[in-house]
Symmetry: C2
């Protein structure tokens, strides 16, 4: 029999690693009761600072994340790492994921590493990351690092769950910064030119600075550009210093917090509707009938979708209750 | 005043390029009337074969797509290209997109190139691609090539709108095939090792073949692996031959067609519901109240989303009408 959610939540609060790993898995899988567990956890969260670390494939994000985690850990902070895997929508498993590469720090005390599949988290990658961050937060992690490849749209969304975004570039990657999505440049709080021991690092720094100059508006200050090398250790200490300064500034940076909460509520509503639609239609054959009608040329997908929704006249949206009035986590 | 949709649809059928470009834009932007336009177009579609061309950033997909389009065009086919841009979720524009690189074939008669932003298509990238494919189909394109970077989840979804998927690898990209998402390997109908003029091409071929051997189940035949060079032209003619063979086989490969239609209907329903949710809640302040309550510690996002949906007891899904009974595009 599965351990009840409330036991796992209790275990997480008490700092049990196995409870942590299990709770994350079961919330990711949207097992019955996941939402109540998150409701119970929510009031204990908000203390963790989240750094998103992103960049093109091959930029050395994993090694850099390792180094940052080590550096922060040495200064006494409890660290959680969420590694977003380029995994399969079919097999559900990573082909050659970051898990292997991360092994060397997995044994350091106070660092917890969790891989997340880009597919397979039923709640979607971004909401999945928010949930995992909160669980790590309730567990007592001071800082969470999310490492994700900075190319896909989903991956951009994920870093938006972070308080601060680090964009990692590297010399000699052909098109260089061209392979980064434009959106990533715009949400970066900090640029890192990694593998600075290689030729061409200074050119990448100049390229980024030139691009920042073009895109900077008004008198806002441009994000800093740092050189690091995970191999030689160059720049890592300065980077850790900078991250800790950003951590202290977190409270002041609530600027987009309300927007992020709104977005989360809408996402959760959409996911619930999505779930209801899929379960409503999975078994009843109407969808298959519709496909047949389309095949016979009697219908088109646009009309079918419209017809199917015609029964919902309007959204009778419910009132928002006060959690305290109804006694917490239900 | 904007040109009415029915005029644009008529223009597309008559092969007017400006109507084509405009109709695509207005359907992408989900302007009022877009759905009726698609309903009218739908019965004229189904004749186009769609090839998805995907791979890691830097694999030379754009040049290869150019070469393929040229080759197919020379053999008398009308070609449409959809280039999925790594564009900004903020600015909406590509920073350094494929548009520039594609200029050299944009002037060839019979080739139409369209960039699609990964963000900014309100209908979502995959549905957006389906819509554009249908419009190109109604316009008279025989073959549509969709070029997309093979790293993000959205990008994988896009290639699923294709009938056949070409996965492009390249020697010397560091981690090599590691940067490809595992899911991509599994949906590939054809592997291409591009930049075959470079060292290491044969190793990449062996790597892919080894991986295919591991993952192949039962007696299904492994997808072919071809070497090409967009620079020297090596392998391009054989590739074009192979694509034309796949084109002829299209009719036989309706295996997953029903699943794709089902998925499209569900996607369209979801998008409509999401749209309604967003417009329902945009102006009425309830969302802001909820954010305030969360800020005061009186609520959590999970409960708020649940409460807001509590008014929707069940989905009173409507009956599917017969398009012919109500006289076409309504």
């Amino acid at each position: 029999m599965a351990i009840p959610f409330d036991k796992l939540v209790k275990g997480v609060r008490q700092g049990h690693l196995r409870s942590l790993a299990r709770l994350i898995t079961r919330v990711e899988n949207r097992e019955a009761g996941w939402k109540d567990a998150m409701k119970t956890i929510f009031p204990q969260t908000g203390g963790t600072v989240v750094f998103g670390i992103t960049g093109a494939p091959g930029a050395g994000k994993s090694s850099l994340t390792n180094r940052i985690a080590e550096g922060l850990s040495k200064r006494g902070f409890q660290i959680g790492i969420i590694a977003v895997d380029p995994s399969s929508p079919f097999s559900g498993g990573a082909l050659l994921g970051d898990r292997l590469r991360m092994q060397d720090i997995a044994t350091i005390d106070g660092i917890f590493i969790r891989s997340m599949a880009t597919r397979g988290t039923l709640g979607g990658l971004c909401q999945g990351a928010r949930d995992v961050i909160r669980i790590l937060d309730a567990f007592g992690k001071d800082i969470v690092l999310i490492e994700t490849v900075g190319v896909g749209q989903d991956e951009i969304e994920v870093v938006r769950a972070a308080d601060h975004v680090l964009v990692v570039s590297v010399p000699g990657l052909g098109d260089g910064i061209q392979t980064l999505k434009a959106g990533i440049m715009e949400i970066a709080d900090l640029f890192i030119v990694n593998k600075a021991d290689r030729d061409g690092a200074d050119e990448v720094v100049s390229d980024i600075q030139a691009m920042l100059e073009i895109s900077q508006e008004g008198d806002e200050s441009a994000p800093p550009v740092l050189k690091t090398s995970a191999v030689t250790g160059e720049g890592i200490e300065s980077l850790v210093d900078l991250l800790l300064r950003l951590k202290e500034e977190k409270e002041a940076q609530t600027r987009d917090h309300a927007e992020r909460v709104k977005e989360e509520i809408l996402t959760l509503m959409e996911q619930e509707l999505f779930h209801r639609i899929r379960s409503e239609w999975a078994g009843n054959g109407a969808l298959q009938d519709a496909v047949d009608q389309i095949g016979k040329g009697k219908q088109d997908p646009y009309s079918v979708a419209e017809d199917m929704l015609s029964g919902i006249e309007s959204f009778q949206l419910g009132p928002i209750s006060d959690r305290k009035e109804r006694g917490g986590g239900k």
